[in-house]
Symmetry: C2
Subunit: 418 residues, 2 copies
Amino acid sequence: MDIPKLVHDLACRARAASERCAELTTAQKNAWLKGAAKRLESARESIFEANQQDLAEAREKKIEAPLLERLELTKDKWKDMLAGLADVAALDDPVGRIEESQLRPNGLEVARMRIPLGVIGIIYESRPNVTVDAAALCIKAGNAVILRGGSEALHSNLALALELRAAAQESDVPEDAICIVPTPERSAIDALLHESGNVDLIIPRGGPGLIQRVTESSRIPVIKHDAGICHIYVDENADTEMATRIVADSKLRQMSVCNGLETLLIHRAAAESSLSKILAKLHEEGVEIRGDAATRGIFADAQPASEADWATEYLGPILSVRVVEGIDEAIEHVRRYGSDHTEVIVTRNPERAQEWLRRVNSSTVGVNCSTAFADGYRLGLGAEIGISTSKLHAYGPMGLEGLTARKFVLRGDGQLRE
Amino acid sequence: MDIPKLVHDLACRARAASERCAELTTAQKNAWLKGAAKRLESARESIFEANQQDLAEAREKKIEAPLLERLELTKDKWKDMLAGLADVAALDDPVGRIEESQLRPNGLEVARMRIPLGVIGIIYESRPNVTVDAAALCIKAGNAVILRGGSEALHSNLALALELRAAAQESDVPEDAICIVPTPERSAIDALLHESGNVDLIIPRGGPGLIQRVTESSRIPVIKHDAGICHIYVDENADTEMATRIVADSKLRQMSVCNGLETLLIHRAAAESSLSKILAKLHEEGVEIRGDAATRGIFADAQPASEADWATEYLGPILSVRVVEGIDEAIEHVRRYGSDHTEVIVTRNPERAQEWLRRVNSSTVGVNCSTAFADGYRLGLGAEIGISTSKLHAYGPMGLEGLTARKFVLRGDGQLRE
């Protein structure tokens, strides 16, 4: 099989489809979303069978438990996936939206209009539900999509894509608006990353290895959805009860997600009065505490934190803790070790709060709230294709708007520049 | 000289400076802009001497006339450059601006705040005035800048940067916020393009060779300011007088700029009634007309247009002309040969106008106006770092806002996600 040729043909077909996608009306796109939900529902059995085949092969290859968990299409995930299609249908269509209209002194009307990006390549790991979620968002924003999921999920992804494409055939969405790379060969990824004439944006979703590989090889712009080493800084004037609840929610709600808390920074004065209380709750729940010397002096159950701890995204029941002299030291720590994801201050002092919001330039910065709000749904975007940790184009939770661009639209009655 | 090390050191210093730049107040940045204008004015003689040295060396190397013209710092350019500093000082500071604030149902306030991008690398050709223009815009948007101008302008650029840095020393702007690559070695460009840990964005400004080389080698996101193959489509119902004036303004005002007209498309009906008139004016002014068969049938002075003509940015006194059957064929031509820069329709039909604005996704699309309005100043951006022809991050004329990103800002009073 000539993989570069196969991928090139796929990319050319997606490019051609993207021109038609850009002109679809909202009703046409929503009709596809609704049709896709119906087709998936009626093909449910064959899709679950394909998923079982992937799971069986993965177990044979002794693939580790968390990956198997992500690979499995459970009834709950299925329900969420179908509900997701309905949710995306209900979202406002960004395409064609006029923004920032103004009349220039010469009578020329200048506005910005949202347009699709074109062809978007999504490279992801084992979760088959991403196939449906990502396709829905890309199409609703008027783009064509090329999906390249993990090789271990290939049967599931092909079965899902078959229905998404069949729904397209029954609607005005071109079938090639949803393309799936039909081979588990890793060289297909490199081929895709070199299709700069046909693909406008690459979004990798997965672990640091995938992200790094994609970023280094891509000839196409990449929006990274990188690690989340999230911090909370508890200020000297913080309400202990509030700090305890916010730290607990940020760490315990769900350990494996990128917006979970990884490092607690606390003002020396607050540490003396409140740190034991804040950490006791976590320790009870089985979280291992790794602290600097000052933390260990206050909380005897803490293990020593190494330099590497500050730069680690645990995604599990470990929390690193450091006592700082004030907001400057906290900000310095965040800049040095953070990953530009989410940082929260807990304080009663409004000036300190404002200073934090102004000076910390992570993609989400907060005052007196859980880090777990760094999520497109919770922030009112309606949906989320991922959380960007690089500043270009999109930064932070990224929804439909992040899948579009803006052109300048001029309306005149004969204006000349001369 | 160890070029990669030299460039790496420079990039590290720019990165460190960028953290301070992000926290500068508007007054601090404006004080630097004003101070820089003063320093430049008092160093005027030595800067012109340096420019004369560059010009003498360029003449010795038999460098062609248009490049010499761009290299020369004339009195007019000098005046514009200094006026530019005052203009940028007068622009609103985007940094810290709150946009799209909303209250979520749980009482959490969610807003977006503009922040600087960090470190911006500008790679440009021979115009020394870009050194000052680009530095002013980057610093006003809270960024540090690394400047890499053409080797033939090195003395001029070093002399200019010396004053910009001296003005920084006299203000709160860190000196290393303005870095200049102090060597003509081309390998310095490759070294810069690999500083992905320290440089956030690369903006190349120059010919297609430079753009292609930068895009292909960069490990850092690039915003391309590519060719402008701009089109005007004259519809069947167009006002002949208006079409004639708009075509003339778009082609004749300034031939060497990227927003100049390169291809005229005209509806068959309009061609029969108006094409001779439209082209006569241009022909009188010395513009060579290259047309398809239908054009040549109407306008006898036209030369035959080849396939290559449709894809050529002339930047000079040549215009390609094609007669089309209607708006569909015109749009198809623009999509096939255009460069996503600027396309204008001349029509009396408001539905046809709307169709053009909606379906053509170039960065600037217009109705009944000159293509020459595709310019940051004319569109109300206040200034322009370039015109992006790629959709990611910025599309079309790019001003201060394009040099910033937006973070999410959350203000709560103890909200948990649980």
